[in-house]
């Protein structure tokens, strides 16, 4: 399943997030990188430097769009103006697929700018899947939804998070951006076995994976993206690649960002686990 209909039949390899502190290095040194993931909202602007930099990056690299504000799970209807801006960016980047989170973050037009957890109910899954379909039809590009890390669960939930994710992606007929670190963080915060999660999702729908670092506090773990990836997360990643196949993978590093080379080297550690998955596949 490395290349499937949820990632536009592309096997992109290992990428990193395009971040401002690395712009100069990338534009001047032109390092070899399989692909960059951009935060769509950072480029949904009317002009200026962000778009100039993006155009220069697009001349050299493959770019995939990742959003943080579509809020598939919000009760609000999709905002047409927002979608039009996003579609203009999709046309500019020619992204082969687009991802955003299985979460909500706004209601009645007020934005929290957070990725808030869903109540895992059948009604919420149906509503969310409808929105994903509407948005995909408008944008005309495959969509992968990403599982978020969370710190709270709702009494109203009727199923596990991975059952909810499965329900949504089956109803919407869309892909999954499997964030392995988020599963680890949530498993510690809610006390479930992360391998049950990995085993329980439809593996043929995984179009991309995320890995990242997190921070441990006394009573919970926070998804901070400010560290190298921790060993238990790499172990889960190895398991996920055995289940899903070698899939486009991206390292997220969004705070206390070190040098480009350090971030890229950290991302390339994924190769060790990918090789393991390839050998496992041959053996099977």
């Amino acid at each position: 399943m490395p290349a499937n209909r949820f990632n536009g039949f592309n096997d992109y390899g290992i990428g990193i997030g395009l971040r401002v502190p690395h712009y100069r290095h990338i534009l001047e040194k032109k390092p070899v990188v399989d692909w960059f993931e951009i935060i769509s909202e950072n480029f949904m602007v009317d002009g200026g430097k962000p778009l100039e930099v993006l155009d220069r990056i697009l001349e050299q690299y493959r770019v995939v769009q990742h959003g943080v504000s579509m809020y598939f799970g919000s009760a609000d209807r999709p905002d047409r103006a927002h979608l039009r801006k996003l579609k203009a960016l999709v046309r500019r980047t020619k992204t082969r697929w687009l991802s955003d989170h299985l979460c909500w973050g706004s209601v009645d037009g007020t934005f929290t700018h957070d990725l808030l957890p869903m109540p895992y109910t059948f009604a919420a899954a149906k509503r969310t899947a409808e929105k994903i379909r509407q948005i995909r039809d408008f944008l005309e590009v495959p969509i992968c939804v990403e599982n978020v890390s969370s710190y709270a669960e709702f009494h109203a939930s009727e199923m596990t998070e991975w059952e909810f994710l499965t329900e949504v992606v089956e109803l919407a007929d869309c892909g999954i951006l499997l964030d392995v670190n988020n599963i680890y963080v949530s498993s510690k915060n809610h006390g479930f076995n992360p391998y049950d999660y990995l085993d329980g999702i439809p593996h043929d729908r995984v179009g991309q994976m995320h890995v990242a670092g997190h921070t441990k506090f006394e009573k919970y773990i926070l998804d901070t993206h400010d560290h190298p990836v921790l060993d238990p997360v790499w172990k889960m990643y190895a398991h996920a690649t055995r289940l899903c196949g070698v899939t486009a993978t991206l390292l997220e590093w969004d705070d206390k960002i070190p040098s480009f080379d350090e971030v890229h080297d950290e991302a390339l550690k994924a190769n060790r686990f990918i090789d393991g998955a390839r050998q496992h596949a041959k053996a099977v």
Binding site: W104, H113, D114, T121, A123, A152, A156, Y220
Partner: protein, 300 residues
């Protein structure tokens, strides 16, 4: 406001999301936690327990509090990044209070944090007690910093080339100014002030990386607040970089008239009768070279 017992429809989902949003955007206590009393007088712990599960380490209240804290931390940090000058002018504590009051009145209505501080200058005028006795300077700094955001990624229209205006009938031609360009009439020379603050912050950052850098960082703390002086300014970009250009009053008036869509002849007249024609030609030539002048935008 109560949590829905079961969640069977989009209306139920909306009720739950409204409830949680109310909790998230509530101002933090002085200690930086979730307020113990809900808007209807019930204990917040009781409200949280209605819709959020506890676990073996955290109560429902504590789990909700994580999100409440993250909301304020994220938004105040964003405002702080966008407004280094205002933060320096008011100091960390007052700046934080101003931003929290601002966001309590004007929560974000945009999908992007880029627009978070768009209404801050107006709010400073609405609530002068939060910035007194520096309200006028704070208002100017906030306008200047928002103008930088606009200049950074605002729309650019095709510019009119310097030669294109030759032979045009001034009474009929209507021009426009680039949407990314802001014209500011300020009571304080905040450009110099904000540049000094940014320079200080950059040096402080360097010093804190050096051995024994804390001492160096402390010495760099003070930037003198701006003194009252009327200045006119254009905040714009050129070749991808931000610039601030001081303007004379006639220049400012002419540009303002162009921005308002006045015909060229009336825009020139707005500069006053004492400006010599060759001076006006020089100005227009420079503005055109800087790419400021474009066709009049279509009416909305």
């Amino acid at each position: 406001m109560h949590a829905p017992k079961r969640l069977q429809s989009t209306a139920d989902l909306r009720r739950l999301q409204r409830l949680m949003t109310h909790a998230l955007v509530r101002p933090l206590t002085r200690e930086g936690g979730l307020q113990p009393e809900w808007i209807d007088g019930r204990p917040t712990a009781e409200v949280a327990a209605e819709f959020i599960k506890p676990n073996d380490r955290l109560s429902s209240f504590e789990r909700l509090e994580i999100y409440n804290r993250m909301y304020w931390y994220r938004l105040v940090e964003c405002a702080s990044d966008d407004c280094p000058g205002l933060r320096a002018l008011l100091g960390e504590g007052r700046f934080g209070r101003l931003i929290r009051a601002y966001l309590a009145k004007y929560p974000s209505r945009s999908f992007t944090l880029r627009n978070l501080c768009s209404r801050l200058p107006g709010f400073i005028r609405e609530e002068p007690r939060l910035t007194s006795p520096r309200t006028a300077a704070a208002f100017d700094v906030a306008r200047f910093e928002w103008a930088q955001t606009v200049a950074f990624d605002g729309e650019a229209r095709p510019a009119i080339e310097p030669g294109e205006l030759a032979g045009a009938a001034p009474g009929r031609v209507r021009l426009g100014l680039q949407p990314y360009l802001s014209l500011l009439a300020l009571d304080y020379p905040v450009d110099e002030y904000v540049i000094a603050v940014k320079r200080r912050d950059a040096l402080r950052s360097e010093a804190s990386h050096a051995v024994g850098g804390d001492h160096g960082a402390r010495r760099l703390r003070h930037v003198r607040a701006p003194r009252r002086t009327r200045v006119y300014m254009a905040v714009h970009r050129h070749s991808g970089r931000l610039y601030y250009k001081r303007l004379s009053l006639p220049e400012f008036r002419m540009l303002e008239a162009l921005k308002a869509g006045r015909p060229l002849g009336r825009a020139i007249a707005a500069g006053g009768a004492r400006v010599r024609p060759e001076r006006i030609r020089e100005w227009f030539s420079l503005w055109a070279k800087l790419g400021w002048i474009c066709r009049k935008p279509p009416s909305p």
